[in-house]
Amino acid sequence: MSRLAIWTILGITLTFLIGPFLIVILAGASAGEALAFPPQGLSLKWYAKVFTVESFRASFALSMFLAIFGTLAALLLGIPAAYALHRYDLPGAETIRTIVAAPVIVPGIIVGLALLRYFVVPFDITITMALFVTHTALVMPYAVRVVSSSLNNLRADMEEAAVILGCTRLQAFTKVVLPNIRGGILAAFILGFVASFNEVPASLFLSGPGVRTLPIDMLSYMEITFDPSVAALSALLAFMSVAIVFIAERLLGFSRYV
């Protein structure tokens, strides 16, 4: 292929990948009153306004809470699950793997509707609790997958070696297995965090009055107020994701695990 063709394809790809991102950044930096592109003049006032909107603060806190603790809960369940699937020759292991992956395969709308109809309503569960359980379930597949793949890179006889040297099974797990899958666990946490933070469809069904995740809050904000602050907030969130992934890559070669 000629150099020109390569650069053209690269250019088009980058335009589609980064283009929307640039549009959002610029739209948020508008000096005008309405969300528009190209922006009418440049100013940082909408970036500043984001921090003053009360509902954004509350929904950001909720989203952070869900992303952090939902992912931690998913790891707490997912690490033992991945370990059991890896270590023992369980009957129906393949079926269990498929079921564990189901929440990412089934469309979020269906997950949300099903949870609302058959879980939240009949059991009278609070919205926060319902969101927490849902986000945990949605993040579980990432936890199991990523931890499984780093367990696969671990030699099985290392645990036996630890036992021969005097470890109990639990000590062998904490002293030998865990330190060696640390990178995978961190990668799973970051993936889960981002997936949870950006989750819309299922949360849409479960969000209620006054309890909304940030993306849902942004949606409803836009329905009422069509100013550039939503674009500014989107840009800030994108920067946050990029920063997290960048730090993760620097610290532990994140891309090896994904």
């Binding site: 036996e160 021969i164 040297l165 005097g166 109990t168 000590q171």
Partner: protein, 337 residues
């Protein structure tokens, strides 16, 4: 020296429904270097895992140093095991790998340090303390794994194919190293191998295993010179093994008359035991190769292929030509079925 430092009594080892080792009886002496030798699937590794406590016997008893350890978990048995893949801990330094078991024993820090340094010195790894296993060569990793087991002062040290992952030169070096460590420490060592030359060179005694049973047990020289069965003879490098009927050898291809009555159902000759250039039988040379002190021939005879060696002084017989040979009684090894 007790004759039964480690005893397996009627031990049956199974994976699921299949008994890999049906009924094993074995006595290992204190301070000896014993080899479990056999082809893959013969139960040698399974037996070793049972001694280590990684596999519980479905019946029978395992006794180590007078104590019944059949139900003792692996982490309380006081046994060392050097894995075929070494199974070093990649997240720990060489020093911490060796100190790993000592730390679990909750020894004082000074004692841990002293023992670890002594252990690393024993295997010639002084100066490598800070390295990670991934930054060490195969031979160094092997010695690190050995040190990690030795510092625990195990009653018995088990080694799973200890030389199989090393190249030829390192293998020789490590063989000497193992023998030296064994003589220095007097530790009872059991090593598993499928390589008969390794077993012959290293072991005080060899347990030749087949289908989960002990086929033959003896000193290397005994096994080499006097294999009891056709299987043992094959493993000990007797290339020419034939079924005997009266005063003849028979094979699927034909028969060959002997000038003596066969004393056993099978007879075997090493290539060096076959007389070439003199005798009552004739064979066609199908392969010929130079091997330093002698020349190796493959002869096509009425019985099938026969491997023979001729002194290098005798003129070479070209491929395709016929040559006379003999299978003399003096070099024949009688074998049980």
């Amino acid at each position: 020296m007790s004759d039964a430092f480690v005893s397996l009594e009627d031990v049956t080892l199974s994976y699921g429904q299949t008994a890999a080792v049906p009924n094993l009886n074995l006595n290992i002496r204190e301070g000896e270097l014993i080899a479990l030798l056999g082809p893959s699937g013969c139960g040698k590794t399974t037996s070793m895992r049972a001694i280590a406590g990684l596999l519980a016997p479905s019946s029978g008893r395992i006794i180590i140093d007078g104590a019944d350890v059949t139900r003792t978990p692996a982490n309380k048995r006081g046994i060392g095991l050097v894995f075929q893949s070494y199974a070093l801990f990649p997240h720990l330094s060489a020093f911490e790998n060796v100190a790993f078991g000592l730390r679990l024993k909750r020894l004082r820090e000074t004692e841990i340090r002293a023992k670890t340094e002594a252990g690393m010195a024993t295997v010639g790894l002084t100066g490598f303390e800070a390295r990670k296993p991934g930054e060490m060569s195969g031979g160094q990793q092997q010695r690190l794994a050995l040190a990690r087991s030795l510092v625990m002062e195990p009653k018995v040290l088990l080694l799973d194919e200890p030389l199989s992952n090393l190249d030829a030169r390192l293998r020789l070096e490590m063989r000497n190293e193992l023998q030296r460590v064994q003589k220095d420490t007097g530790i009872t060592m059991v090593f598993v191998t499928h390589d008969q030359s390794e077993a012959l060179a290293l072991a005080d005694r060899i347990v030749l295993m087949r289908d989960g049973r002990v086929e033959q047990l003896g000193k290397p020289a005994e096994l080499y010179a006097e294999p009891a069965t056709a299987f043992a003879a094959d493993f000990m490098g007797f290339e020419n093994i034939f079924r005997a009927e009266g005063a003849a050898l028979v094979s699927e291809q034909g028969r060959l008359a002997l000038d003596f009555d066969a004393p056993a159902p099978f007879l075997a000759w090493r290539p060096s035991g076959v007389t070439v250039g003199d005798g009552r039988h004739s064979g066609r040379v199908v392969a010929s190769s130079f091997a330093g002190a002698h020349r190796e021939y493959v002869l096509e005879s009425d019985l099938g292929q026969i491997k023979a060696e001729a002194p290098i002084e005798t003129p070479e017989v070209p491929i395709g030509n016929s040559i006379v040979f003999d299978l003399p009684q003096s070099t024949a090894r009688p074998l049980a079925a």
